[in-house]
């Protein structure tokens, strides 16, 4: 998996959706779907089959975690979770083999760029090892 990813995003904050929609193209990726809750995200993913999911955790209705679990039950699409809560230390400190990253709010665009690259690298590794 190389640059120019097709990305599905989910956040209940319009400011954040706006931000991601403007930032990701600058990083060379394409936002294929934008959701305001988990339910919407699931629908978008099944419609667009994105390369990457970027989602907030806390959202009205279904939250990001639940939505991801449902999606991953079908296919393991790489994902970046953005949360105002601290990531459980077990996730950050132990080297994870899953195509998954966790970013704490507030973050800078460089943090997101690094996270995307890390997830891409890990996905490639997993494909190679298969």
């Amino acid at each position: 998996m190389r640059g120019n990813l097709r990305v599905a995003i989910a956040d209940d904050e319009p400011d954040m959706r706006d931000y991601l929609e403007r930032l990701l193209p600058r990083l060379g990726h394409q936002v294929v779907a934008s959701a305001t809750c988990g339910t919407e995200l699931i629908a978008n993913v099944s419609n667009t089959h994105p390369d990457l999911i970027i989602t907030d955790v806390r959202m009205p209705g279904m939250d990001g975690d639940t939505a991801l679990a449902k999606i991953w039950a079908g296919s393991l699409i790489p994902a970046i979770v953005i949360s105002a809560y601290d990531c459980p230390r077990t996730l950050t400190s132990s080297p994870s083999s899953s195509p998954f990253a966790y970013i704490n709010k507030p973050f800078k665009w460089t943090d997101l760029k690094d996270a995307i690259e890390a997830v891409v690298a890990r996905t490639d590794e997993m494909k190679d090892s298969r």
């Binding site: 400011d15 954040m16 931000y19 403007r22 600058r26 105002a84 809560y85 709010k105 507030p106 973050f107």
Partner: protein, 687 residues
């Protein structure tokens, strides 16, 4: 002295009998007549003396002495008639009196002798007189006056001399009084009774001229006596030799009698069977007295003589007095011992009490060992209540005995209070004081409740933090969302304004303000939010090194060194949340680096130690910076306390919190190099 007195009295006597120069003149004028018959007079005088056996016995020196005495008498008569009646004359008469004492010529005999001489002289005068009768009468009167004066001085001298010489006659009586005074004096001085016994046997034996004197002491074994002290005994027997009191023996008898007992002649009287063990020499007479204190017999004092001897009442009384003195001394020593033992027990009770004790009377205080340890000051440094207030209490503290108690009466009252004291090492301790206060004095019982206070405080703080923590966690989460939106918008602005440098610079500042706000929220949350620990066994050294490594950005371009000394094997590892403890070390290192000038030296020493029956690893982090003033030391761990221009002032508060949730504690003192020294004690827990 006596002669001077006599000289003075002689002048008085001269006036009294009306002796004048005219008398002297008349005697002088008649001297030829008086002296004419001297030889006859002297011969007649001694012939008379030698005629009577009583007076003859005085003269022990035979004819030669008689001749010498006749010469003396002739000289006396010649001086009597011619004078001069001066001091030398009186002195010569004075000597005659003393001489009479020497040879045993009593006053009665001298008066008689004078009468005989007087008669011979007057008779001679009358026979030979050639003048008028009235002149003869005058001369006889003058001669009589002179003879009376001579007689009075001789007699006076005799009496005084006799008195002076008669004193030593009762020398043994005096010696006994001296012995009583000596023994009594020693007993009063508090001489150990066994030493007193040793002195008694010597003194008593000497005053009686006894051949042996023994002091037997009860051994505690029934009817057994030990020779405690002895005079005239072989040295090796003293303190070793014992006797058994047999029925019918002298000891048996003596112990039954309060008064002294004697036998003047063992063989003739056969009063007692001699006790076995005392019969080493054939004594003929003995004297005993029992010794008792507080109606308990404790021994016998005995005297022995090789000859039969009659004892006087004075002897019995004397021995009784010695016994009384010894009884008093023994009773006194026993009482003293009892008192000393009681005092020691009481002193030990107070001194070994596992709580501080203080006695206050008339401003003077006495403290026990526990209180010395509590305060760090020795007894000598705290001797008055003013010392206590000045040295230990902070100035704003109210003096402990300052409050008045109108209800105070003889029964006293108990007052409870607590006080914060400053120990000698600068540490502050909280003492709980229960003071019993009476009109005369005060007794305090003190407990160091610092630990309990500390635990209380910590529990309160934890409770408060839990409440704040919940609120802060919510606040921090919501603020993160808001901050994220600000960040997102700022970055979008940056995308649009990339070509405008001054706008970009402002956006940079905005970004920095957001970072600061974020850090502040994170720290507040770190301090207040509930902490969950992930326990593991960690090497102390590696945690310290990791923390030091993480300070690398602060050390760029600086000379800074950190050393670790692990004092004992137990200090190598601790059971902690590694991440949190490294955070604490890092915080301390950051502070040290900020405070120290180059070269910055951070020395860490780790030691396993036991406190309150728990094992701790004590980690001391000392730097060579300017140190922390005592007034700031306690406040250092308060949230938002900071001496730095930058920083939230939460670093050390968080460090304290982290250490406390580990069950440990953190404090700060002055390091050996006068810098700051952080002391972290972590419990040596197990998994």
């Amino acid at each position: 002295m006596s002669f001077d007195r006599s000289h003075f009295e002689y002048s008085l006597l001269q006036q009294y009998v009306g002796w004048t120069d005219a008398d002297a003149g008349r005697v002088h004028a008649a001297r030829e007549l008086i002296l004419l018959d001297t030889t006859t007079m002297v011969e007649d005088f001694y012939a008379e003396i030698l005629r009577h056996p009583q007076t003859a016995s005085i003269i022990s020196g035979g004819k030669r002495q008689v001749e010498r005495l006749k010469g003396s008498l002739r000289r006396w008569i010649a001086e009597l008639c011619s004078g001069p009646y001066d001091a030398a004359y009186i002195e010569r008469r004075w000597k005659i009196g003393k001489r009479h004492v020497d040879i045993g010529v009593g006053p009665m005999f001298v008066i008689a002798a004078f009468a005989r001489l007087r008669y011979r002289m007057i008779d001679t005068l009358r026979i030979q007189w050639e003048g008028t009768t009235s002149e003869l009468t005058e001369t006889i009167l003058s001669l009589n006056r002179l003879l009376d004066l001579d007689l009075s001085i001789i007699q006076d001298s005799y009496e005084l001399e006799n008195l002076a010489r008669s004193e030593p006659i009762d020398e043994t009586g005096i010696r006994k009084h001296r012995v009583l005074a000596e023994i009594g004096g020693r007993a009063l001085e508090g001489l150990n009774v066994h030493d007193l016994f040793d002195q008694v046997v010597i003194h008593v034996a000497e005053s009686f001229s006894a051949n042996r004197c023994d002091l037997w002491e009860s051994t505690g074994v029934d009817r057994q006596l030990l020779l405690r002290s002895g005079f005239g005994w072989p040295v090796e027997k003293i303190g070793q030799h014992t006797v058994t009191i047999l029925a019918g023996s002298e000891f048996d008898f003596v112990l039954d009698h309060r008064r002294a007992i004697a036998t003047s002649d063992w063989n003739a009287e056969k009063r007692f069977e001699r006790s076995i063990g005392t019969e080493t020499e054939p004594f003929e007479s003995s004297l005993w007295v029992r010794l008792s204190a507080e109606s308990q017999h404790f021994g016998i004092l005995a005297l022995h003589f090789r000859e039969p001897r009659l004892f006087s009442h004075a002897d019995f009384d004397f021995l009784q007095s010695v016994s009384n003195i010894l009884s008093t001394a023994v009773a006194r020593q026993e009482e003293l011992q009892q008192r000393t033992e009681n005092e020691q027990r009481l002193r030990r009770l107070v001194d070994q009490l596992p709580a501080g004790a203080l006695y206050l009377s008339n401003h003077q205080i006495v403290v026990n060992s526990a209180l010395e340890e509590m305060t760090g000051f020795e007894r000598g440094e705290l001797s008055t209540i003013e010392d206590w207030q000045r040295i230990l209490l902070r100035q704003e503290e109210k003096p402990i005995n300052g409050d008045s108690n109108p209800s105070l009466d003889d029964k006293g009252i108990v007052i409870h209070r607590s006080a914060v004291i400053r120990r000698k090492d600068g540490q502050e301790r909280v003492l709980d004081i229960a003071a019993f206060r009476s009109l005369a004095d005060e007794v305090w019982l003190l407990h160091d409740v610092t630990e309990a206070e500390y635990r209380n405080e910590r529990a309160l703080r934890a409770e408060r933090l839990a409440a704040i923590g919940q609120m802060i966690t919510g606040l921090a989460h919501e603020s993160r969302n808001a901050l994220q939106r600000i960040r997102a918008c700022t970055e979008m602005l940056e995308f649009d304004l990339e070509s405008n440098p001054s706008a970009m610079e402002l956006l940079g500042r905005l970004g920095k303000a957001q970072d600061d706000l974020r850090r502040l929220f994170d720290e507040v949350r770190g301090y207040a939010a509930p902490i969950t620990l992930e326990w593991q066994n960690c090497s102390v050294q590696s945690m310290l090194e990791e923390a030091w490594e993480s300070c690398e950005p602060l050390r760029v371009g600086r000379i800074a060194h950190m050393s670790v000394t692990i004092g004992n094997a137990g200090a190598q590892e601790v059971w902690v949340d590694r991440f949190r403890i490294v955070q604490v070390f890092r915080n301390i290192f950051e502070n040290a680096l900020a405070a120290c000038e180059d070269p910055a030296e951070v020395e860490v020493t780790c030691l396993e130690t036991t406190f309150d029956e728990k094992t701790f690893v004590e980690i001391r982090v000392a730097d060579n910076g300017p140190g922390i003033p005592p007034k700031d030391r306690a406040r250092l761990f308060e949230p938002f306390f900071t001496t730095k221009a930058k920083g939230t002032g939460l670093g050390m508060a968080i460090a304290q919190r982290v250490i406390e949730v580990h069950g440990g504690r953190i404090s700060v003192e002055e390091s050996a190099k006068h810098g700051a020294e952080f002391i972290i004690a972590l419990p040596k827990g197990s998994r």
